[in-house]
């Protein structure tokens, strides 16, 4: 009887001692798991894009991430460039950083971004292009890269926000245009008056597809 009592008492004590430990172990484990998943989730792109022209190919497709109250976006693109007068068709890769300070509700599920701006770096995959001039040249023979181009742009966009009940794969579709120019054009424009904005400013248009995402609004 005494043994039984002791056994019961120890069991209860044991449970009291153990329970918080197990509970907290479970908790921190789950928390860690959750945190880990959240971190990995952040790597899932929030949108994809399709862009026509813009110095990065005839047509470019890519994915991107928005953050900072959706004001900042980082995109990567793969662009396709037909051969035209050159020897072969080419592919390009672009890393693009966007800043979209305002998003104005225009009613009827539409919203409007009066300004988007940013810069992007583009590299072209072709053996005739180099990052810096090859060793065959005397030192600093050509002091620029034919392979790597930097562009800056300003633009605008109109988004259609798909009503909640109609959402399947996408939350919103944005149509945008951009006016861009690239580093070598800026160098060319410097100290000369013959080149006019129509020569070195170029237009591009595109579409952005925001993925349906429970992280939206974070």
């Amino acid at each position: 009887m005494i043994m039984k009592w002791y056994g019961f008492k120890y069991t209860v004590l044991w449970l009291i001692l153990i329970f918080p430990l197990t509970a907290s172990a479970q908790n921190s484990y789950e928390k860690r798991m959750e945190k880990r998943q959240q971190r990995w989730n952040q790597l899932i792109p929030t949108h994809s894009q399709l862009q026509y022209a813009g110095g990065m190919g005839l047509l470019s497709g890519g994915v991107g991430w928005d953050y900072g109250k959706n004001r900042w976006e980082t995109d990567v693109f793969l662009g396709f460039l037909p051969r035209y007068s050159t020897r072969e068709t080419k592919w390009t890769f672009t890393l693009k950083q966007n800043y979209i300070p305002w998003n104005i509700d225009a009613g009827k599920n539409f919203s409007f971004s009066p300004l988007s701006c940013g810069l992007y770096a583009n590299t072209i995959f072709d053996e005739d292009f180099w990052m810096s001039d090859p060793d065959k040249y005397p030192n600093r023979y050509y002091s620029f890269s034919t392979k790597l181009r930097f562009h800056i742009y300003v633009g605008q966009g109109v988004a259609y926000n798909i009503p909640y009940e109609k959402r399947r794969l996408l939350n919103a579709v944005t149509f945008f245009y951009e006016i861009s120019s690239s580093d070598l054009y800026f160098i060319s424009v410097f100290g000369n008056s013959w080149l006019k904005p129509k020569d070195y400013l170029h237009l591009s248009v595109g579409m952005k597809f925001d993925f349906a995402d429970k992280r939206q609004g974070r």
């Binding site: 110095g55 050159t86 005739d128 181009r149 060319s188 904005p197 237009l203």
Partner: protein, 270 residues
């Protein structure tokens, strides 16, 4: 805030309209050629026509226009004010970075000339896919034409840009050109971008090159660009003078006159 956005919208719309000319660009090196092509073939035909039978031939040697659009425009205007010149030789480097549009911009400026012009290929014109753009707009890298009794042989000498994938200078072309006996061909002028013994030239063959060009009927002299300053050099101590043209930014050009007795040249400022 609303006001700022409205203004911004107007500003960007104006920018958009400004960009309407060559609206979309696929890539600075996209190789999309628009406008006139085959410049050298058309202009050498014009030169041969207008100079046929003439005993005095006046021509300008210039080059290295690169991204000097204003100076090139001024050059064109100043040449157009004269009526005593038969044609212009552009010694190459019509582009600076080899960008597709650079070739077209300079072509459009040079097309303002009333007299015909030809453009040699320079080392800057070989950058990235520039060789193909040069070919597309101006034509073959090696070409010749007859002005009066003088044959002008224009040669690609940018060996450093070609990695042995292509014969530069092209001795087969030179040999064939020596062998080609055109009626009325009495004397010869050689024009190149990079002269022999310069860092662009394949100097393993510079002496051979010199031997080859001296086989042309009555070689008068050679013309080169590339070195950006006026130069008069007997590069091989054999009496064959290489005249180096100033780059366009110097606002000078060389004016040559071929006469039945020989030739004269002067430096002209514009």
């Amino acid at each position: 805030m609303k006001m700022i956005m409205k203004n911004l919208f107007i500003l960007l719309t104006v920018l958009l309209l400004c960009a309407c000319n060559d609206l979309f660009e696929y890539h600075p090196y996209d190789g999309r050629i628009s406008g006139e092509t085959g410049i050298n073939a058309k202009n050498t035909a014009r030169i041969e026509n207008t100079c046929a039978g003439k005993t005095h031939i006046s021509f300008i040697m210039t080059g290295d226009t690169q991204r000097r659009y204003d100076e090139t425009e001024d050059f064109v205007k100043s040449v157009n004010r004269r009526d005593d010149i038969d044609f212009v030789i552009h010694g190459g480097d019509i582009s600076d970075f080899g960008l597709t549009k650079e070739f077209m911009w300079m072509r459009d400026i040079m097309n303002g000339l009333k007299i015909p012009y030809v453009v040699l290929i320079g080392n800057h014109d070989c950058l990235a896919n520039g060789k193909e753009i040069y070919r597309g707009i101006f034509g073959e890298e090696n070409f010749s034409f007859l002005a009066g009794d003088c044959k002008f042989v224009c040669l690609n000498t940018n060996s450093l840009e070609y990695d042995y994938s292509h014969p530069v200078p092209d001795f087969t072309f030179i040999e064939n050109s020596i062998g080609e006996r055109r009626a009325g061909h009495e004397r010869t002028v050689i024009a190149v971008h990079a002269p022999p013994l310069s860092e662009q030239f394949d100097n393993n063959v510079s002496v051979i090159f010199q031997h080859f060009i001296k086989r042309f009927p009555a070689l008068q002299f050679c013309l080169n660009a590339h070195e950006h300053g006026i130069s008069v050099k007997d590069r091989f101590d054999d009496g064959v003078i290489y005249y180096g043209s100033p780059s366009i930014e110097k606002r000078q050009y060389l004016l040559f006159t071929l006469t039945p007795e020989g030739y004269d040249y002067e430096v002209v400022r514009f």
